[in-house]
């Protein structure tokens, strides 16, 4: 007889970025953290063009665990650069650090 699969866990991290805006990250992951099932980012920040948020969210959702923070930050920065995007009120490093907290 095998143990049932543990239910996924959803962790919410809310952070007022110093000198920036409020970012709320909800991460649903397998328990123990082995895979991110869903990521959701909301808040009162600005991001131009706005559609870039979906791309950043996809990158976070596809991140492999255990997390490589340096690689993930580089991927997020690439998304911003390739889309000529301006993030105001948060930076990729903030998203990485919030994800680390959500998975801790």
């Amino acid at each position: 007889m095998t143990n049932p699969m543990p239910e996924p866990t959803t962790a919410t991290v809310i952070r007022k970025i110093p000198g920036g805006k409020l970012v709320r990250m909800e991460i649903t992951h397998t328990e123990p953290p082995g895979r991110i099932i869903q990521a959701k980012i909301t808040g009162d920040f600005f991001l131009h063009p706005e559609e870039t948020l979906e791309l950043l969210t996809e990158v976070i959702q596809a991140a492999t665990l255990p997390l490589d923070p340096v690689a993930l930050q580089a991927q997020l920065e690439t998304v911003l650069a390739e889309n000529n995007a301006q993030a105001i009120g948060f930076q990729p490093a903030d998203l990485v650090s919030m994800l680390e907290e959500a998975l801790a």
Partner: protein
């Protein structure tokens, strides 16, 4: 000197206000509409939330419904704003992106200077407070938000005329037990409004804004066209009133 159309203060419901901005953006993009500055109010009062916000994280929908307050998602970022029907004037500036600096922060500074100038006309010593606010001393009097689509910039923002913090908290998603007198006083101490600072009417503020935004621009005073009204009514019904838009996050 760039030619702008200026549309004087007029009140609409929240959904029509957001739809008018989008219709005018489309018109400016196609070249059929002059760059436009419009001043407007909200009838009934409304809460607008930023495009990236979760509606249920920000607004108490039951309280809003009971109070007859509309709730709408903007196409711009930023936070939740309570727009009291008597308490503020909102502006939208819609123009080709080429008129403004590429940097979003720099373009906030350029457009917010128009508001600062308008408040100076009323004797209020306001200043731009980056990222996107205008303050008097350390007290916020105006919040602003921007989007850029298809080569067109939209910046809209509110200028507070009078403040009702208790009403605002009754509509926002803050647990009632947390809305203490202390919190209300704390928020009230961080914001200010025109009526606190100058003995002027809402009409005086409106006139000052028209004058402040006219600086350095050639202005043609006009009304909305019938076509804009018709298209905005359709867009309000098909987008801004829908759960698909307002509950998308």
């Amino acid at each position: 000197m760039n030619l702008f159309r200026m549309i004087p203060f007029q009140k609409f419901d929240a959904f029509t206000n957001m739809a008018l901005d989008e219709v005018i953006m489309d018109g400016v993009r196609s070249g059929g509409t002059l760059p436009t500055i419009r001043f407007y109010g909200w009838e009934p009062s409304a809460v607008s939330i930023g495009i990236f916000q979760g509606l249920h994280n920000e607004v108490n929908p039951d309280m809003a419904r009971k109070a007859g307050v509309d709730v709408v998602r903007r196409q711009t970022g930023g936070g939740a704003v309570y727009h009291d029907t008597q308490g503020e004037i909102t502006y939208s500036l819609i123009a080709p992106l080429a008129f403004f600096p590429v940097s979003v922060l720099d373009s906030y500074a350029v457009i917010c200077a128009d508001i600062v100038r308008s408040l100076h006309i009323l004797g209020i010593e306001a200043r731009f407070a980056p990222i996107n606010d205008i303050a008097v001393g350390e007290h916020k009097i105006s919040g602003n938000a921007q989007t850029r689509r298809n080569g067109v910039l939209l910046q809209h923002g509110t200028i507070l005329y009078q403040v009702d913090v208790e009403k605002m908290f009754s509509l926002l998603a803050v647990a009632p037990e947390k809305v203490s007198d202390k919190l209300i006083k704390s928020v009230r101490s961080r914001v200010t409004c025109v009526r606190d600072l100058a003995d002027v009417t809402l009409a005086d503020l409106s006139a000052a804004l028209e004058q402040g935004f006219s600086h350095g621009r050639e202005i043609r005073s006009e009304a909305y066209t019938q076509d804009e009204h018709a298209r905005a009514a359709r867009l309000a019904a098909e987008k801004y009133r829908t759960d698909a838009w307002n509950l998308r996050r």
